[in-house]
Symmetry: C2
Subunit: 315 residues, 2 copies
């Protein structure tokens, strides 16, 4: 029951593509509601009808069933819109209706408009209800022995974690809060999650692009299923000296392994990685010439799908 | 009149995106004819109506104006289809109708179906008439001084070249003929174009992914304008010792420069690079942490667009 590399992509980048199957895409889109803000006539995310329904008759919101659009009507700027969104979400949290809101984080994620302006900020745990694009950082930490052998640091998530407990992860990974730059977010997470000193990270880490995909949430993600989650992960590499050891800096990681390429690929094929972390590993293997056009028949499709152009404005 | 990095992408990846502007995309698509082969009900490329028109009443071809489809009716396998396509193209070349066929190359490009099978092979110069996906290899050759400074080998195309004469290019670049693997194609081109020995290339070169885009041909490309050209370039990096010098191996290159990053970016911004070569440079700068989320406001869009998922089956 080994998973191919394309199978790993299929597990995480699950939303259909217009350019591959226009009918399937149209049928899929037609079941959702668009999220919009007043005076901006484009979608910021797709929402399940069962979620949009809960906003009916709620002050500051308007639901249009003919065009299948939920619009935040109030607020003339980012700060005002954010307040109206927060007020609605706090009230919804009190009702207990949405399971995802039970994991309230007190952390804000930004939602961007077409001019890269922040249209509003939203509580992190609510982002999959709105189907908005969220941003994160993922780091691959590796060593190269004097004989040239590549070894990669792989953490196992704490088994007590509510989402993807016990699964394998990237060395460091985390969401980017509103107002934080990707690089500063990475430096902070490196200290928190892997006990990597900021100086070492600043001097050695290298930004290497993004991995973008469009995930439809499953049970493993926790809370309501089938919520839509388009994501953009800024990916970084760090080559470490052989004498640097990664150790858990908090209780989110159970243990770090230092594995050769074959061992990492074996665990990927067994489906032991958190889905989006498998994609970041694949991107690393492609950029480092481990996965090649000659040994991977789906190379062209995989590279494109790791860099999906999302339907919504991005930063 | 300096070009932004996104401006460089806009110059090469010119075909509209459904997910950005569905109406514009639909309006654009509706002007083209799909290329198909019998018994395979999907598009292999988009053709201008003025090109499809020339196939009307030609044996082995059927034009359907209602659905805007041109179908190769004859041939039950790749070899037979290739013969019918060649016969038609040889006859068309005799008429002198299509300017692109005046540059007949005697080189075959493969056209793939959904199962990655070769549906037929087609003369290289005819590929933009059919709008099929073509494949190539692009190499970035660089050195790193002991102080860590990155320098990049940049060739200037011979001014006598019919296409993009005098423009800047990637160290080595070429199309992949039918039956050739990307890697073997690269090794061959390295010797031909940059006098790089095969042993050196095999031991040092690293595959780093693909750059894919959808180009609408302009006058600079030669021949008919507005032909559609979706392309997939396999990208490779090679770090060279400082004492290795690139020299033209044939008359396609006028001269090689060894430039620092700032100098390369300056020439990119001036629009001096062949459009798709600027994209390969951008991908290199992103993978190597030169262009970052912090210094490039269009980072997320650029990374996605350098890896466009094409509308047609790919290898």
């Amino acid at each position: 029951m080994s998973k191919s590399n394309l199978g790993l992509v299929d597990t995480c980048d699950t939303f259909p593509y217009y350019q591959v199957d226009a009918d399937l895409y149209a049928a899929s889109i037609s079941t959702y509601y668009e999220l919009r803000v007043h005076d901006h006539d484009y979608a910021l995310g797709y929402m399940l009808p069962s979620v949009a329904e809960v906003f009916r008759n709620v002050p500051h919101w308007e639901i249009n069933d003919d065009d299948r659009i939920l619009t935040l009507l109030s607020g003339g700027n980012s700060s005002e819109r954010s307040q109206f969104v927060e007020a609605t979400l706090l009230a919804l949290r009190e009702t207990g209706h949405f399971k995802v809101l039970n994991k309230w984080r007190n952390e804000l994620y930004p939602v961007y408009g077409r001019n890269k302006e922040v249209l509003f900020n939203v509580e992190r745990s609510a982002s999959p209800l709105f189907g908005i694009v969220t941003y994160g950082v993922h780091l691959t930490a590796y060593t190269r022995s004097t004989e040239g052998e590549l070894k990669i640091w792989i953490p196992r998530r704490a088994r007590t974690k509510q989402t993807y407990g016990g699964m394998l992860d990237n060395a460091v990974a985390g969401g980017i809060s509103s107002g934080e730059s990707p690089f500063e977010s990475l430096v902070r997470e490196c200290a928190e999650e892997a006990s990597l000193p900021a100086d070492l990270v600043r001097s050695r880490v290298r930004g290497c692009g993004t991995v973008t995909y469009y995930y439809i949430r499953t049970e493993e993600a926790g809370g309501e299923t089938n919520l839509l989650q388009p994501e953009c992960q800024y990916v970084y590499d760090i080559e470490l000296p052989e004498d640097v050891t990664l150790t858990p800096g908090d209780d989110e990681v159970e243990e770090f392994y230092l594995w050769g390429v074959a061992e990492v690929r074996e665990h990927m094929a067994k489906g032991e990685f958190k889905p989006n972390c498998a994609l970041v590993m694949l991107d690393f293997f492609i950029r480092h010439g481990v996965v090649t056009p000659e040994n991977e028949k789906d190379y062209v499709e995989i590279v494109s799908r790791l860099h999906r152009r999302l339907e919504f404005p991005t930063l």
